[in-house]
Subunit: 348 residues, 2 copies
Amino acid sequence: MAKIDDVARLAGVSKGTVSNVFSQKRPTSKKVTERVLKASKELNYVPNHIARSLVTKKTMAIGLTIPHGNFFFSAFHNQFINGVVLEASRFGYRVLLDMLPMLEVRTPSLASYPIDGAIVLGPTEEDERIRLLHFNGIPFVTVGKIFNAQVEEAPTVNNDNARIVHDICDYLIARGHKNLMFLNASKGTTVSMERRTAFMEALAKHRLLMRDSVHHYKPHIQSDHYLHYGYAETIRVIRESSEKVTAIIADDDRAAFNAMNAIKDLGLRIPEDISLFVICGDLSMMHQTMPPLTGMDLQPSELGAQSVKLLMHKLGISNEGDYPDHLIIESKIVEGASCSSIEGEWQG
Amino acid sequence: MAKIDDVARLAGVSKGTVSNVFSQKRPTSKKVTERVLKASKELNYVPNHIARSLVTKKTMAIGLTIPHGNFFFSAFHNQFINGVVLEASRFGYRVLLDMLPMLEVRTPSLASYPIDGAIVLGPTEEDERIRLLHFNGIPFVTVGKIFNAQVEEAPTVNNDNARIVHDICDYLIARGHKNLMFLNASKGTTVSMERRTAFMEALAKHRLLMRDSVHHYKPHIQSDHYLHYGYAETIRVIRESSEKVTAIIADDDRAAFNAMNAIKDLGLRIPEDISLFVICGDLSMMHQTMPPLTGMDLQPSELGAQSVKLLMHKLGISNEGDYPDHLIIESKIVEGASCSSIEGEWQG
DNA sequence: CTGAAAGCGCTTACAG
DNA sequence: CTGAAAGCGCTTACAG
C-alpha cells in the first residue's frame, strides 16, 4: 500500500497538501488537487484510516452491544440493528458489533474500544458494559432505562414499559381474563423490572390478586433454557397450577412460539382455550401464524434509529439544535386473533 | 485518558516495559509486572487500540458486508450474522457491519477500511464491495460463488445452490407439479444465477417446458418493491396466466409470506390449491405458520461461522492445518405441510 | 529481563 | 493556498 509520502513525492507537493486534498479540511488549488489525485490513482493510494484516527481521535464507528449468548437474535434485535445501521450510515458512521461473550476473550489483551460512542441495549443492574464504557470514557446511549445507582446520568431511548404492560393488562382484563401468566424478559434487566412493577400495579388496579397470576423471568441469556423459555412454564402452569391461567403475555416471538407449541401439545387451542399476547414480535410474521398473533408494536427499528441520533448529538456531530436526553418511542397494540373474550365471567 | 508514558513514569520503568506487560509478547519480571499494573490501575490506564493498530497493522476486526437497502434483514441474515459474530469472538475478533448504502457516504472522505479481513455476503456480477476490498488489499471470503471474471480466486463458503434447486424441483415434480413459479433472489447475484440455471436444468430433466413455468427475480434491494416481492407476482400469475401454476418456490421467508397473503387474498388455500416451498426461512418460525411451511434448511449460522473460520485461516490466525479454499455447507429439506401431491395427473 | 530510540502514517498548528 | 515540523500513543528491533 502506498502511503502519503509516496504520493507527495510523486505529485511534487508536501504531505500536508496531500492530506488536505483527501480530508478537504483546507482548500487546495485546483491544479494541485488534480496532480495529487492523479498521483494517488497511479499509486492506488488511499489514506490509512487508523493513522488518521490516531491523530483526529475519531474512529467513525459506534459500538453496538447486545446481550448475546450462544443463541440467535430475535426479530426485535434484527429490526433494532437495522435501525441503528441505517441511521449511523447517514452520519458516515459504521457499526461495530460488540457482544457480551467477547469480554472474556478481550481480557488477555485488553485495549480501549476503537469507537467514538456506543449504544447499550437492555441495561442490567450491574452492567459490565456500562462499567467498561464509563471506564474508557466513551459516551453512550442506553436503550432501556439505566439502573440508577450505576452511573449518574446517561441519555436513554426507551419504550414506555410501564404503560405498555398496563395497556396489555387492561386489554386482557377487559376481556374477562383474571389469571394471567407473564413470561417476562430476563431478570436483572431494567426493562423486566419496570414491567414487573407495572404488572403488579395493573393487577392491583383491577383488584386482582397477584397470587392468582404467574410471573416468570426469562433465564439468563447464557442459560441452556433460554431458547426454550415459555414452553415448560406454559406446560407446568396449565397442567399443575390451580390458578386457571387464561391468558399468556410473552416477551418476544420466541417465547410466544414456545408457548404456542406448549398449548398445542396440551391439546388446547388459541384463543378458544387460552389467549396469547406477544410484546415484541415481528409484525409481518405475527400475521402469518396460526392464529395471527395479537401483540404490541414496539417499533424496534425506530428505537435503533433514535438511539443513534441521540448518540450523534452527544458526540456533537448532529447539530439539530436542542435534543432531549430521554426519548420515549411510541408503541401500540396490533390486533390479531390470539386473544378472546371470556364470556359471562367478567365484571366491571 | 492516561497514556503509556504516564504509567511508565509512575511505575519507574520504560514504556517498552509497560507495553510488554499488556501485550504479553515478551516476558516481564513478576515485580515489574505488579508495579506496572498498580500504576495502570491508579491512572485508569488502558492501551490505546488505535495506536497499537497503527504499528501492529492489525485492527482485530473483520468487516461484514451485507447488501442492504432501507429494509430489514431477513431471518437468514439474522442467523448468518449470529454465526459470524459468535465465531469471530472466538478468535478475539470484532465485527464491523458494513452496509452498501454507506459507499456513497464514504466517498467524500475516503479512507481504507479499518479491518483485517472481510466477509462478503451474496456477491454480484460487478460487485463494488469486492472491487474496493481488492483495491485496498484486504483479504476476504465470499459467501456465495464469486463471479469468475471479477477476481482471480477468492475463498468461498456456499450452499450447493444447484443441488438445492434440483432437490426442490424433484420434490415438487415427484408430487405431480408441472408448472412451477420460482421467486428467485435478486438478479445479478451469483446465487440467483446458479439457481436459475439449475431450475431450467431440472425442468428439462423432467421433460417439462420452461414456458409452462415462471421465473422471477427479486427487485434490486434498493427498490420500493423489494419488501413486497412475491405478492404481485403471485396474484398476476395465478389470475392471469394460462400456465396453471400449482407450486411456488420462494427465495426467503418474506417472499413466502407475501405469496401466502396473495394466495389468501385470492381465496385459495395452501396446500390444497397451491403448494409453497421456501428456500431460506427461519426454522422455528416455519413451524408456526398456517400451514407449517415446507422448506430448505440452509444452515445460515453455520455458513457464517465457517466463513469466519476460512477467513481466519487466510489471515494466518487459525492454524488448524490445511483448510480447503471452498466450503460447501449442507442443506436439507424440512417438511411442513405446505406442499401437497396432485393426484392422478402425474406421470413417471 | 529491561531501556533508548526509531517509526507506524497520518493531521495540524505555525509560518509564510 | 502551501510547506516544514512536531506529534498522535503505541510497538519493536537493537543493544545490553
